[in-house]
């Protein structure tokens, strides 16, 4: 990754006029006078923590062993939405996303695996986000992406829904973490007034301290977010987000895509997929509700962004898939191979990619769907085809990986 790439990604300009007037980070001030709107690619990593059951989400309705393994919770072929591929359907809860599937703005990769076989939430999550098995690296893969290709602005990477650092972004690269954009504000400023922030700024001038740079970034980011929020209060194009944390987060991501300078990567967490019990089938249960919230949120997000959606790539990651065989509680235990969903522009859309290993007993990996596509291969392809990294730079993010084409991205 070269310096010129960094400058290109820098962009800085923003779509919303009101935001243009807000101060930018001082160390990047040399770029602040550009009027070119930032139209670079934005990747949104949606972390589905807890073990997403890919076999319910993109059910292998053409595999005879599927219904056998899951007598009460399999999605019947008659209820699954069509993917255009006889082997697979979509869970009925994904109906809001069906138009995106049809228009080529959504695709899936099935039987995606990770090198980690621990089936422990903790270890599998750590390994998924570190993405450097057998090495001593302590950073997240997204942090390493930003290190070689980051815009360097406070908004290059945003984490929403939780201010505690995500493992994806663990490392030295600056990240703006917030519960929500509206919550990214100075407590008390509403009743104390602007003199509170003014005084804070004054207290962080004329003194040498390691606290100055982060404080300045924070004060600038507060101004930028306040302007962005004020200029962009409601979803566009008639989009309606569902009530709940994910809808709120995706609405904020849309505002950031429209308005934030230098935004390249967004991390959003949406957990509670650990469905050992009551997963449900086509018409009821936890999966229907929870997956429905994902579908409605992402459909609203696409609608909200309109043509800007083509600049965006959303990918889902989860630490592991779930057992093929359902358990005695109407759920599934920790497994391995999984589905990965992708939405946005640049996709070979409307397709289920990957190599289906089958669910026959002799094809399973210790009782689980085998992983035939390494998730890191999907990410390398994303970084190269969508984020503009060179193949060698993208591969370098994942030590020890010899990238293999997946064909998910054009």
């Amino acid at each position: 990754m070269t310096v010129s790439r960094r400058c290109f990604l820098q962009g800085v300009g923003v779509a919303a006029g009101a935001v243009m007037a807000s101060p930018l980070l001082s160390v990047r001030a040399s770029y602040a006078d550009t009027t070119v709107p930032y139209t670079g690619p934005v990747m949104v990593v949606l972390s589905l923590r807890g073990g997403f059951d890919g076999l319910s989400v993109v059910p292998p309705i053409g595999d005879p062993d599927y219904a056998v393994a899951r007598p009460t919770i399999a999605i019947p072929a008659s209820r699954a939405l069509s993917t255009g591929d006889r082997r697979f359907g979509l869970h009925p809860a994904l109906a809001p996303l069906k138009p995106l599937w049809e228009s080529g703005q959504m695709a899936a990769v099935h039987a995606v695996g990770t090198p980690d076989l621990s089936r422990s939430h903790f270890q599998a999550t750590e390994e998924l986000e570190r993405a450097a098995p057998g090495t001593s690296l302590r950073t997240g893969w997204l942090d390493r992406v930003l290190r070689i290709a980051g815009s360097g602005t406070p908004f290059q990477a945003v984490q929403l829904g939780d201010t505690a650092p995500s493992g994806l972004l663990a490392g030295p690269e600056p990240v703006l973490a917030a519960d929500s954009l509206d919550a990214f504000s100075l407590s008390g400023s509403s009743w104390i007034g602007p003199r509170f922030a003014t005084t804070l700024r004054a207290l962080h001038h004329d003194v040498t301290s390691p606290a100055i740079a982060p404080a300045t970034i924070t004060l600038d980011a507060l101004d930028t977010v306040a302007a962005l929020v004020a200029a962009d209060r409601t979803p566009k194009n008639g989009a309606v987000y569902p009530t709940g944390g994910l809808g709120d987060a995706m609405a904020d991501v849309a505002r950031l895509v429209r308005g934030a300078s230098g935004l390249q990567a967004v991390s959003v967490d949406f957990g509670d997929w650990d469905m050992h019990t009551d997963l449900g089938a086509a018409g009821d249960g936890r999966m229907l509700t929870h997956l429905g919230e994902v579908a409605q949120s992402l459909a609203a997000f696409a609608q909200d962004l309109g043509s800007l959606f083509t600049n965006v790539t959303v990918v889902t990651l989860s630490e592991f898939g779930r057992r093929v065989q359902e358990n005695g509680s109407g759920g599934v235990d920790h497994g391995h191979g999984n589905v990965l969903l992708a939405l946005g522009g640049g996709l070979n859309g409307g397709l289920v990619h990957g190599t289906w290993p089958g669910l026959a007993a002799d094809k399973l990996d210790d009782g689980d769907l085998a992983g035939t596509t390494d998730y890191r291969d999907v990410l390398v392809e994303l970084l190269v085809k969508r984020q503009g990294l060179s193949t060698s730079a993208a591969a370098g993010v994942f030590p020890g990986l010899n990238p293999t084409a997946v064909g998910l991205f054009r």
């Binding site: 621990s118 422990s120 939430h121 903790f122 270890q123 750590e126 001593s136 302590r138 406070p154 984490q159 939780d162 201010t163 505690a164 650092p165 493992g167 663990a170 030295p172 600056p174 990240v175 703006l176 973490a177 917030a178 519960d179 990214f184 100075l186 407590s187 008390g188 104390i192 003199r195 509170f196 005084t199 804070l200 004054a202 207290l203 962080h204 001038h205 004329d206 003194v207 301290s209 390691p210 606290a211 100055i212 740079a213 982060p214 404080a215 970034i217 924070t218 980011a221 507060l222």
Partner: protein, 511 residues
């Protein structure tokens, strides 16, 4: 700082194995009066924030060395008030079988209790340096808490590994850790079989716990370390454990790798599967005493207490003390706090979110509610949102201990917002009791009469010993309005924001 008459933050290094006084060693013990700047420096590094009470303690004891001596023998400090608070978290110190008998399988209560008890001790224990060292070792031998696999075993690790050995020898600490069920579960050793050893613990033992990644070991060393550790496992309800031993150490000779092993110059025939535990002990003791380990521990302590980039000469001296003292921790700390480098390091460390928030709470006189049903869940959660939940770092390597690890805008904003919440006493349902009359607590009964005097009094109280630049003082006054007599709101509605601004100052975030 080292002038004879002004005293210094340095502490005489008596009790060390070396008898020769270094030429630059501070001679302040000849003048056993306490220098205020030096006292604050020592307190801000060795405690979770100086308080009026701790400053008074130092003055009363007459010398920094006397204060440090007492802190280094924590059992000599009466801590009954804090212990009374801790009684509400009985599972924080419980054995694994007790935890397993008390809560449901996989329940997180015991781990939450460890977290909250840790936080309570940081806030209210008088054994402050001991608590700081417990935190140091908890990070060095990190076991993410809560994390599901240590639901029943973290309490015992905290008690019998970290707290038992925090001021003992590193060798004993490491040995205890290597047979601690929580560590064996956390790093996957409990299921490690000699046929195909799980290398996780072997790797971390070398890379994180002892010699460090640059020590020149090879992958073969890692594999051999992992082989040596095979068999160290844990009883549970599925492998034949009983209610009396679930979550305790189980040595499984059938899983122990047999055959010659070599790790960094240590070797063993390892021919008898029943003796694997002794082989592991031999290796662990060897690693604890390696010079590379001495360098690493010395460097980490210097980073903790002196600066983000400590002088190598100091690290070398501390490493020598570590080896000469048979890996004993206290002589290293004495040498560290007695060093000229420590004395010269005023203002060179930044508070991380945990130190910052706990320090602010201490400076605001927040005390513990006697009602045992009240807990510190809110504060623990808030610290998690700031990125530093007590014991909560998600990887085996422990929280970053340098300012560069804590520069995110969300964290900075979160600290400022939390300051205002603590000043305003917004969490009055938990175990924290806030001062009812904060102006009187911070300023005394006779209040300043001018805005300049009010700002000066708050600066002296909350960022003591720091020369605050005139523009900063002026900005704080301007927050209230024109300098002059106190206005109506200055001790009322503007008081909490003003105190918060003082706490938000960069001078306040120095440690």
């Amino acid at each position: 700082m080292t002038g004879l008459n002004t005293g210094s933050a340095g502490v005489e290094t008596s009790g060390m194995t070396t008898t020769r006084r270094r030429p630059h060693a501070p001679a302040w013990s000849l003048v056993p009066r306490v220098n205020a700047v030096a006292a604050r420096h020592l307190l801000s590094r060795t405690t979770y924030g100086a308080t009026p009470e701790s400053l008074t303690d130092v003055v009363r004891m007459g010398s920094l060395r006397a204060w440090l001596d007492r802190q280094l023998t924590p059992a000599s400090i009466d801590d009954t008030a804090c212990e009374a608070v801790l009684a509400r978290w009985p599972l924080a110190t419980a054995t694994a079988p007790t935890v397993e008998a008390t809560v449901d399988q996989g329940n997180w209560d015991a781990m939450q209790q460890v977290v909250q008890a840790t936080l309570a001790r940081a806030l209210w224990s008088k054994r402050q340096l001991f608590e700081v060292m417990c935190e140091f070792w908890s990070n060095h031998l990190n076991i993410t808490c809560p994390s599901s696999e240590v639901w029943s075993t973290k309490s015992w690790d905290d008690r019998t590994v970290i707290r038992q050995h925090a001021l003992g020898t590193f060798e004993d600490l490491l040995l205890a850790s290597s047979t601690s069920p929580a560590m064996l579960l956390y790093l996957g050793n409990a299921e490690s079989d000699g046929d195909a050893p799980n290398e996780n613990y072997g790797r971390e033992l070398l890379e994180l716990h002892t010699v460090g990644v640059d020590a020149g070991y090879t992958h073969t060393d890692i594999v051999n370390a992992a082989r040596v550790l095979t068999g160290l496992s844990v009883w549970n309800r599925w492998n034949g454990g009983t209610p009396g031993n679930q979550g305790t150490l189980r040595y499984r000779s059938e899983w122990h790798y047999v055959g010659p092993v070599q790790v960094m110059g240590w070797s063993h025939a390892n021919g008898d599967a029943t003796q694997g535990q002794a082989v592991a002990e031999s290796m662990v003791r060897f690693l604890a005493r390696r010079p590379e380990t001495a360098q690493r521990i010395a460097a980490k302590l210097a980073v903790r207490f002196v600066s983000d980039t400590p002088p190598q000469a100091l690290v070398d001296r501390l490493a020598q003390v570590y080896l000469a003292g048979g890996t004993a921790v206290v002589p290293v700390l004495r040498a560290l706090f007695g060093s000229a480098e420590f004395t010269a390091s005023v203002g060179q460390k930044q508070r991380r979110p945990y130190e910052d928030i706990v320090g602010v709470a201490r400076s605001l006189g927040i005390s513990a509610h006697p009602d045992p049903t009240r807990d510190l869940g809110d504060l623990a959660w808030t610290l998690g949102q700031l990125g530093q939940a007590p014991l909560g770092w998600g990887l085996p390597d422990g929280y970053p201990d340098v300012a560069g690890g804590w520069t995110g805008a969300g964290g900075t904003l979160g600290r400022w917002n939390t300051h205002l919440g603590l000043v305003g006493g917004w969490w009055d349902t938990g175990a924290m009791v806030f001062q009812k009359d904060l102006p009187t607590y911070l300023l005394g009964a006779s209040k300043p009469t001018t805005r300049g005097a009010l700002v000066d009094a708050l600066l002296a109280r909350l960022v003591p010993g720091v020369a605050v630049p005139a523009p900063h003082r002026a900005a704080l006054i301007a927050f209230l309005g024109a300098d002059g007599p106190l206005g109506q709101g200055d001790l009322q509605w503007d008081f909490e924001p003003l105190v918060t601004l003082v706490l938000d100052m960069p001078q306040g975030s120095a440690r």
